[in-house]
Structure formats: C-alpha cells, structure tokens
Symmetry: C2
Subunit: 209 residues, 2 copies
C-alpha cells in the first residue's frame, strides 16, 4: 500500500502556516501578536483561539527583547520545557523547570499548596527579567500573582496558558485583570496547555517561521 502524503518537513510547515493565515481571523489581533498566534494555532489545530487570546501592548516586544538578551525561561512542567525548540533560542537561554526538584514535595506540604505552585519558590533567584511559561497548572499562575503582589522580582513576560476545569479560566482572568505591571499573554477560558505555552516561547525566540 502506498499512501500519498507530504513527507518534507519544511513543506509541511510552510503549507500549515499558509492555511492558518488564510483561515484564521488574525485581524482581531495586534500585528505582532498575530505573528505569535499563528504558531499557537499551529500547536493546537484551532483557528478560533484568536477570539480568546489576550496580550498586553508590550508583551511581544518585551518577550523578544528579554530572550535576545539571554533571559532564562521558567516552565511550570516538563512538557513545556520539552516543547521549546532549543535551536530557535537566540542566546542559548536556560530552560528551567523546578517541579521535580527534590525540595518541592516538602515545600508543598509546608506551604499547603500543589507541588506545581510550591516549585515557584525555587524560581525566586532567577525570576527577575525571566520569561515565564505556564502550560499546565492554574495554581502556578495564582501563586505567581500572589508572589508579585507581595513584591517578588518581576519577570519580563508571563505566558499564561494553564488548561482545565478548576481554576484555569479564573487564573487567566486574574492575570489579565492585574498582572502587577508585568507584560502578559494568555488564552481565556479552559483551553491552553503545554504545547501552546511552548509554541509561544518558540514564536518569541525568533521571527523565522
């Protein structure tokens, strides 16, 4: 049996992006956000996410500048870290996920929160100016907002894409309502996930499609 399908990776990419640009209503987004949105749509297969995307005015510029200057990327889970394409990163940026650090289970007990949220304690030394990518846990986004409210160092950008039924929409609404002056990008509602969070980092890492 011979199946007829496109086997050339570059051709698959360029045809995918052409389909997205032709089908998605990118005009509802600022032009720099639209360029990022193309990769987010590519990661999830859904063109209608444009209507749920929100970004602060300087989000894309802040993220691109920070990454070019070597900012570390802080991920809430290993899947986000794995989804970041290292060769796209402009400054061999560190990709950090503290979730599986041996101190985290004890921190979670002490702080009476999820392991995902407790892992943020270990971000503090590198949080200032970092690019934060949340693709899984709403509690991470809630905890980050609490830390910022309490005067924690400010990252350059928060990519807030937790997914699910309990707290996901609420945490993203809280981010969009008051991000404590930190530029952000988010997808309102229940949709999100690590592939979208990683795609946002990949889009900001280089303008090359």
């Amino acid at each position: 049996m011979t199946i007829n399908y496109i086997k050339n990776g570059n051709e698959i990419y360029s045809k995918s992006f052409a389909m997205i640009r032709s089908e998605a209503n990118l005009s509802v987004l600022a032009p720099d956000v639209a360029n990022v949105a193309v990769r987010l749509i590519h990661a999830c297969g859904m063109t209608d996410i444009v209507y749920d995307l929100a970004a602060s005015p300087t989000a894309v510029e802040s993220g691109r500048t920070a990454l070019a200057a070597g900012a570390p990327i802080l991920c809430d889970c290993r899947m986000v870290a794995e989804g970041i394409t290292r060769r796209r990163l402009p400054a061999d940026n560190s990709v950090i996920c503290t979730l599986n650090h041996p101190d985290v289970p004890e921190l979670a007990q002490k702080l009476e929160t999820t392991r995902s949220a407790a892992a943020l304690e270990l971000w503090l030394p590198v949080l200032e100016g970092a690019v934060v990518a949340v693709g899984n846990a709403p509690t991470v986004l809630f905890r980050l907002l609490e830390m910022l409210s309490a005067g924690a160092p400010k990252p350059s950008l928060i990519l807030g894409f937790p997914v699910g039924f309990v707290g996901a929409a609420e945490s993203k609404a809280a981010l969009a309502a008051d991000s404590f002056g930190v530029p952000f990008m988010t997808l309102h509602g229940r949709r999100g996930g690590s592939a979208i969070a990683a795609a946002a980092v990949n889009a900001l890492a280089t303008e090359e499609e």
Copy 2:
C-alpha cells in the same frame, strides 16, 4: 493580596473529573472508552471532543492488558514521553522516544521523510505488542500504517492523536478506515496533541482517577 483558589491537588482532580462527568455527553461513547475520554477532556479542557473520538471495540481492553503485561510505550515526541505519569504505569513499563537518536537525521535523508517518521525504523525491534502513542506528527501515523501494510510486527494499540493542519485529519481518517487489525483510538479532525496522547496512556495505565 489574597486570592481564593483551591490549593489541594487531590481536590482539584476530583472536582475537575466531577465537572467533566457532569458536562460531557459521555453517553455517545462505549463505557470503557468514556472512562478514558474523561482524562482526555481533562488534558485539553474541551468536553466536545467526545463527538470526534473513535475507538475500535477492543482498544481499551487491549491497551490495559498490554500495559499490565509490561508492554513498552512508543512515543513520537519527547512531550508525550514527559506527559506519561510513571507512577501510574502498572509494570514499570519502558517509555521510548527514538526521535532524538543520533541515527535519525541520516535515516530521514535516506528515506526522504520527516525525522519523526524516520524515527519509527528504530521502533521495529520493540513494536510487537507495544502501545504506540502519537501526539504530534501526522507523518508518524502515515508511516506506521505503511509499515503495517508491509508486514511490520503489530502493536497492541495505536493511540493516534497527531495535531495540526497538514495531514493530521487525513492520517487519523486513514487509521480509522484500516488499522490493519490493530486496535486504535483517535480524535478525528485537526485537534490532538501530546497532552491528549499522554493522557490516553495515563488513563489506560490504571483505572484509578
């Protein structure tokens, strides 16, 4: 500032699954498939995937039996491998991803296909009886069907969840039309992704929610 949100991981899980069971129209699925669907919905935040899910009659049973007997899990990308919760696996099953094997770039050139599809050549020694989890590349699903058509050893189950615009819907339609006798589960259309593929493995690994 104090934000009011649920911080207990178990409570978040049980409330999420209760919301899904209350909102999703699980009655369109066979009961064993519905139990898996709950975790897929949890991974993507979308209850309407039930209408695009398809599974062969023995898919769930075949996957559960294979995993319990120690079958390896073959993943098309690192994100799927990272999304599989090791402590849920019933027999300390191997989780294998050959995409980054040093031989793959040369294989891809020789076979004139994507690296994702070329990486399947390295699955051959462990393909028989394995659980295959595809969460990214349509070319992987196409290539697997070609290999099965040519007489390759049969896995116990194909979890076919590639995502995107070029080949994703087509490869899943081809799987559902003729899986060469291999049990399968898939999500028709453009939606899919590594979180859904990993969630399917996690659901089959144990019935514990």
